[in-house]
Amino acid sequence: MSLSKRNKKNKTMKKIFIVFILSAGLFVSCTELEVTPTSFTTTENLFKTQDDAVASVTAVYASLTLDPGEQTLFGRNLYFLTDMASDYAAAGVSATNPQVRALSSLTHDATSDRVQVAWRQIYSGINRANVAIDNIPKVSGNEVIKTRLINEAKFIRALLYFQAVRLWGGVPIVLHEPTSIAVESLKSKRATVEEVYTQIIKDLTDAESLPSTYGATDIGRATSGAAKSILVKVYLTRKDWPNTILKAREVINGGYGYALFENFADAFERTKENGKEHIFSAQFEPNQAGNGSSGINFAATSFTGFTATEPADIISDVALFYDIYAAGDTRRDASYMKQLLNPATGTLYTFPKPLFKKYIDFTNLNARSNTGVNFPIIRYADVLLSLAEAINERDGATLEAHELVNQIRRRAFAKPILTPNVTVDLVGRTTIQLREDIREERKKEFVQEGQRWFDLVRWGTLVTEVKKVTAKNSVSERNNLFPIPQSERNIDPVGLPQNDGY
């Protein structure tokens, strides 16, 4: 090798060496360890604009109807507790979850997954409301809208605490979003029933200042009428008759335009949702819970197609709950179906037992898990019957109390609602008789509407009524409350003492 070649080579080698060092250095300097996600927002970065605030409140509402991978709160999960664990509903053969069967036979314990999921869903919604209430004040935007959004969140928070306090008694009151992941800071001990109600009434009182109506794109949001109507139920549950009567009259006479549908079945007709009788409903919509699912399960679990196989949600005792409707009472065939026309064969199919019917969308029998019938959280009929109950309890069986019950009955029998009718009207009932009448009407009126267990507990008749159903004779006084989920007590055994009997 000549000298010049050697020099050239040496130069090249130096170059290579420099490239080496450079390439290493380049990579060292160009990348930071802290990466910013581009496909999701962190909580800290969420609340900037009014749209963010709106979205955070939409999420609060969504806690009623959406929980990916689970039955949704008002789409079925509450139903296990408030209906299947009452007298008229039962777990059918297709109910494969032992915990669901346990609720049906009232043999559930603190490990019940349904009870735990309901607890989780309720508090998840409360947390979303807390996040919205804590953060909306700091976004830029219209103060009126911001206040409205906060009050909507308060309405849902109160609604959820109202479920919780009735299901479990005094529950922990959490009013702010968590600021740390330390478990100690996330714990909170059970408050008294009184404290929970005080909080509920406070939130609902704030929510009374909500608008009474919304524009077309906002229909479905909580209104002042809804806040007052939930307050009616709160006071009724507390046996605070004067306030029940006061609030119910505000709802009835407040110019909100509420009225009963002339046809009972219309209350569960998709085309009539958010109508004059619907004061507040959990809004379900096809594909809402993801592709091919709406979040309301009743259509799929009450009707499994034209087969003899018993669905998961079924009437417990036909004689006690189906055969009781008088001839002409339209509520029976709006709530149950004994037969159904099979569109594929053109023949009328007869089921071994009548099936629940209210949430089945007959225009969409094939995609039953993707139907969009709303779940009525409070209907005007409930306000009327609540007022009748409160008047009867405070003042006795007055004419007004009679009239309120009769409006419900006339509608049930497809008679003009406000015109006295000798064939269906109740007349001259005593307080005790009218009390029984109201209870009977509620039983027939609110099938699959999440009312029955609350009613029976409020009346103190849970054990006697449920015992009438043979398969449910394990019922006892403990069933007036549900157990605090064991998983919660594992983390905080001290702050969360268990309810009696569990």
């Binding site: 080496f20 290493a24 990579f27 060292v28 930071e32 360890l33 802290e34 990466v35 996600p37 496909s39 999701f40 927002t41 909580t43 969420l46 979205a55 955070s56 409140v57 939409t58 999420a59 609060v60 969504a62 806690s63 109807t65 959406l66 053969v93 494969t96 069967r101 346990a102 043999t107 559930h108 490990t111 508090y123 998840s124 947390n127 807390n130 529950v171 968590p178 992941i181 478990v183 996330l186 909170s188 229909i219 479905g220 809004q283 379900f284 919509e285 809402q288 819970a289 592709n291 499994t304 034209f306 003899a308 196989t309 018993e310 969009g372 398969a471 989920p485 919660e488 594992n490 983390i491």
Partner: protein
């Protein structure tokens, strides 16, 4: 120019010698012998080897090209003896010139180099537990590289998750050390660090079913060696990714010397190993009558109808679904090199049909490995691999897949009285009174299998460029830049006639996922000796890996017809689309020091610092040190007297490694979208979904290892023994927090798991005579796994199994003191035989209507009722030990390889069996139900027929998964060199081979090697709807030109 001449002349000589062979033989009177001696493995010339003719003293030595030349009075034929230090002495029978002699390296040679992290090390100096996969395993016929590890190395358990072509398996080195983070080892392919996350090959298309194995993108035929790094001394150099062990894969490189062209190919077929015993038509009809009776309904079949079914026989849905499926593989490789350049180039094609209709796997792979000595001090090279694979897998159902996750289970449940085909040969899509029609279609699972498209196409480029610069004799610097790009496209289409497409008149979904990772590694090596006694080497480096990924998928339904399948989403009604993006950065400093004194005492210290973007802002950097010590006892004076012992080495090591396979961004809080309908339209809401944890960091595993390597009887028996203890702390667990916080859990470093075990590798040369040899390799490993802490005072939790039926049963638990994957359920206690028993004995509380003939469960806590608190551990999916016994028998030109594999003490929750033993009105059942309880047959095993499909986890369904299997058997014949060369080749080998030929097991499912939920650590060993394993029969040929 000189080099080119060299290559050309070699080619010329090669061709000439091949063509002239025949003539030479006849013409010779006094023989002249031209020959060349090369290393059998590397093909490098062996310089200075001595060659002599047997029986006479005349001998020569090979030159710099490994060539030698003889002139002798001996006539052909005669035998020559070739010997060289480091190689096994060889005798070759020659009947003509020239001759090529391949010497086999003496594997026991102490200077053998072993691939370790970021370099190679002399086997004698190694302090850690590093094991190479035997060559016999590497030549095994398989679709995916991870299968080469099966039964090859102690301490490595490979579990196939399904028999689907191209499907994934899970690899565990020394047990699972993590609960929720990844447990797969780190793979290092030609220096590129890869975590084998199968989700990288999933675009998230709905219903896609079992995932495709990312490692299947590497052609097994390209693999030169696989090393398994097990203890901390070996793996700590990989820091936060070393906790689950490291597998180093090196692909074939060219070598100086001859150019080789080789072809490897095989064809064969596969068959199902077994079918499940299901009821025939008449037995099913009787069962249905009993179910009807249990709910007070009239029988569905008259006695005459049942009798008629006995003769007509019904329909065998299983047989209609399975087929004998062909498999073929072809690989063509070119390799060689000269003084300054080396190359290896290959192309491969693999094509496998699945034994289940509608499934297959195809792969094209291309590889080019090039290396060039630019100068004496500098060399550079490239390793490039491209592969394209297409697989069609078994699709999942759209429904929330409870007892029936896919078409395989649907067909097993299909009543045997339902015809598969119509009279005209088309699929029966309406004649089935036991199912409900949807849009006038009653889905037919065979039609579903055949016509559902579930395609995954993966393009992968795995490439690295490196330059290596020798600063001086002692210092070498290396820079490598590599890239790994995985581009996955998934296509799914369920026609309107299928289960998943009927309700929506067709369902189409497409998705794309691209993940690319760039890695830059800069290392400096320092090697020196101080005097004769002190050997010292050091390694330092800085590396950086940047990974980013993007995912998008979209779907539509309600198509006019099925013509365009997934290629015209615009013709249907769109469903919600999805897109996502992520990135991660890992920066690392690494260092290692090796010191060896007199070759007797060796010390290795290593450390790595990893900074990962996945960790929380308060703990971005982790530090992972290790120390290893080994002592070559044999070199001590006192050991000289040990007769028959050739080697004894003691190894001790301790160190800390980490696991950062926790996913991206998990330290940050997040907001997710949730919908609500307002004004009749769906609005997007944003809800908090995760709390931030700025302290989030890697999982930390501290491992102690003691090993002993012993060779005796002239190195015919070699034993490697290791015992280890691995303690993992700071385990990432989604710790349940009070639900009143609005969150169910928070990811925290809180748990602990320990693994301890022993490993034995025993390699023996049982018989060694002239024409006959028999070698065996026994591998044994026993691992004990235990969860030591879950955190927040919680002792037990039940992982959410993504299957609504199993989720409710809660079959698996994580409990302090028990191994991961522990099955949890009731102990059963026969059947209620009398009403007296029903009235007085404990009953399961949720089955309010317990009757005579129902199963009885044990009231373990004695409170009079059967509740969830009576559930107990029913065993774990983790085996007590696994072992394999591999043999190579060579008789002249024949070689026989066979390998047994076994596993003992593991359990599988056979959820499919549980579901098949549930009677319903509309589904077929296991033949076990023939023995069901009836008043006339008071069975104490099988309950009465009911229509309540309620699955209960009991020991009946948690089955012993122990097995012994003749995993592979291969008989090969290598043509004598003379004949091979006459037809113009260097060597030809033909073989026949069978895989999974025999399996001895008590497991009643399709196959005891199963894990429906794939790589998941929380609920391994569940069998429901997994693609069954197959037997494979192959015949193949390997030719080198």
């Amino acid at each position: 120019m000189k080099k080119i001449l060299n290559i050309n002349s070699w080619l010329f000589i090669l061709l000439l010698s091949v063509s002239m062979n025949a003539q030479d033989n006849k013409l010779l009177i006094q023989s002249k012998l031209n020959g060349r001696v090369v290393d059998e493995v590397t093909n490098e010339p062996v310089i200075g080897a001595s060659v002599s003719i047997k029986g006479i003293t005349h001998g020569v030595v090979t030159d710099i090209d490994g060539k030698f030349y003889f002139q002798t009075g001996q006539k052909f034929p005669y035998t020559i003896i070739i010997s060289y230090i480091g190689y096994k002495k060889k005798e070759v029978y020659v009947d003509g010139s020239p001759v090529l002699v391949e010497l086999k390296p003496d594997v026991q040679e102490l200077n053998e180099l072993v691939v370790v992290g970021y370099g190679k090390q002399s086997k004698k100096d190694i302090t850690g537990s590093v094991v190479s996969v035997p060559k016999e395993n590497l030549s095994r016929v398989t679709a995916s590289a991870d299968n080469l590890l099966r039964g090859a190395v102690s301490g490595v358990v490979v579990t196939q998750s399904s028999g689907s072509p191209g499907a994934s398996s899970s690899v565990r080195i020394r047990g699972g050390s993590s609960i929720t983070a990844g447990n797969e080892p780190l793979y290092v392919v030609d220096g590129i660090l890869i975590y084998n996350d199968n989700s990288n090959a999933s675009a998230g298309v709905s219903n896609a079913g079992a995932s495709v194995n990312v490692l299947s993108t590497i052609s097994p035929g390209d693999i030169e060696s696989i090393e398994v790094l097990k203890d901390a001394s070996a793996t700590a150099i990989y820091g936060s990714r070393g906790a689950n062990g490291v597998i180093i894969i090196t692909t074939k490189k060219g070598t100086k010397g001859q150019d080789n062209i080789s072809y490897q190919g095989y064809v064969g077929f596969q068959k199902i190993t077994k079918k499940l015993d299901l009821l025939n038509a008449s037995d099913w009809a009787s069962l249905r009558n009993d179910v009807q009776a249990s709910i007070g309904q009239a029988p569905s079949f008259s006695a005459a109808q049942i009798e008629e079914l006995k003769t007509s026989g019904g329909y065998d849905w299983q047989s209609a679904a399975f087929r004998t499926a062909p498999v073929q593989n072809h690989q063509l490789s070119f390799s060689g090199g000269d003084e300054r350049s080396r190359y290896a180039v290959s192309a491969g094609f693999f094509d496998q049909e699945g034994i289940l209709l509608g499934t297959d796997f195809k792969r094209i792979s291309l590889r080019a490995n090039l290396e060039r000595n630019y100068s004496e001090n500098f060399k550079f090279g490239v390793n490039a691999n491209y592969s394209n694979s297409i697989s069609n897998g078994l699709a999942n159902r759209t429904a929330t897949s409870n007892r029936n996750p896919n078409a395989l289970t649907t067909l097993l449940y299909q009543p045997p009285v339902v015809p598969i085909y119509n009279a005209d040969g088309s699929y029966n899509l309406n004649n089935n009174p036991y199912a409900t029609a949807v849009n006038n279609i009653i889905p037919n699972p065979i039609n579903d299998l055949e016509n559902t498209v579930n395609e995954t196409k993966i393009d992968r480029i795995l490439t690295s460029l490196f330059g290596e610069y020798k600063v001086n004799k002692e210092i070498t610097a290396k820079v490598a830049v590599s890239g790994d790009i995985i581009n996955t496209k998934q296509n799914y289409y369920a026609p309107a006639t299928t289960e998943a497409g009927a309700a929506t008149k067709g369902f189409a979904s497409v998705g794309n996922r691209t993940v690319s990772s760039v890695l830059n590694e800069n290392t400096i090596n320092y090697n020196t000796r101080f005097g004769d006694d002190h050997k010292f080497s050091a390694l330092g480096g800085y590396t950086l890996q940047y990974t980013q990924g993007e995912v998008v998928n979209a779907g539509a339904n309600t198509f006019v017809n099925d013509n365009n399948e997934f290629n015209a989403l615009q013709d249907g009604v769109p469903v919600k689309p999805y897109s996502d993006a992520f990135e991660s950065v890992l920066k690392s400093w690494l260092a290692r020091v090796n010191y060896s004194y007199k070759g007797k005492y060796n010390l290795t210290l290593s450390a790595r610092a990893d900074g990962s973007s996945r960790f929380g802002s308060k703990s971005l950097w982790g530090y992972f040190p290790s120390a290893g010590f080994s002592w070559n006892i044999i070199d001590e004076d006192f050991a000289k007297d040990l007769k028959g012992v050739d080697d004894i080495k003691l190894r001790l090591s301790a160190g800390t490694t980490g696991n950062q396979e926790i996913g991206n961004y998990l330290a940050l809080s997040s907001v997710g979208s949730v919908n609500y309908s307002l004004g009749g339209t769906i609005q997007t809401g944003l809800a908090p979904t995760r709390l931030a944890n700025p302290d989030l960091k890697w999982e930390k595993t501290t491992q102690y290892n003691a090993g002993l390597d012993v060779s005796f009887l002239d190195r015919r028996v070699n034993l490697v023994f290791d015992a280890y203890y691995k303690k993992t702390s700071d385990l990432l667990i989604s710790v349940p927090v009070p639900l009143i916080s609005g969150y169910a859990s928070v990811l925290q470093n809180i748990g602990g798991v320990e693994n301890k075990g022993i490993e034995i590798g025993l390699n023996t040369e049982n018989i060694k005579t002239d024409g006959f040899s028999w070698n065996s390799n026994i591998v044994f490993s026993a691992n004990k796994n235990k969860v030591t802490e879950i955190g927040n005072g919680i002792e037990q939790f039940f992982p959410i199994v993504p299957n609504s039926t199993l989720l409710q049963q809660q079959p698996v638990t994580v409990k302090v003191g028990l191994p991961l994957g522990t099955f949890w359920g009731y102990k059963s206690d026969g059947i209620f035989q009398t009403q007296e028993e029903v009235n007085t004995q404990p009953k399961i509380n949720s089955l309010a209507n317990t009757r005579i003939g129902d199963r009885r469960y044990v009231d373990t806590n004695g409170d009079g009722v059967i509740t969830a608190t009576d559930k107990v551990s029913l065993g774990t999916s983790q085996p007590k030990f696994v072992a394999s016994f591999s043999n190579t028998v060579i008789y002249h030109d024949f070689d026989l390889n066979f390998s047994f594999q076994g596993s003992y003490g593991g359990k599988i929750f056979n959820a499919l069996k549980q579901q098949l033993e549930i009677s319903t009105l509309g589904t077929n059942a296991s033949t076990a139900l023939l023995d069901r309880w009836t008043p006339a047959n008071p069975s104490n095993e099988i309950p009465r027929a009911t229509s309540s499909p309620l699955g209960i986890v009991t020991e009946r369904y948690v089955e012993d998964a122990s097995f012994l299997r003749l995993k592979t058997i291969t008989l090969g014949y290598t043509l004598p060199k003379g004949i091979a060369s006459k037809i113009g080749t260097k060597s030809i080998k033909v073989y026949v081979s069978a895989e999974n030929l025999f399996t001895w097991t008590k497991y009643t499912g399709f196959d005891p090697e199963v894990s429906t939920f794939e790589q998941n650590n929380l609920y391994p060993g569940i069998d429901i709807g997994s693609y069954p394993n197959s037997k494979t029969f192959l015949t193949g040929i390997n030719v080198t030109f």
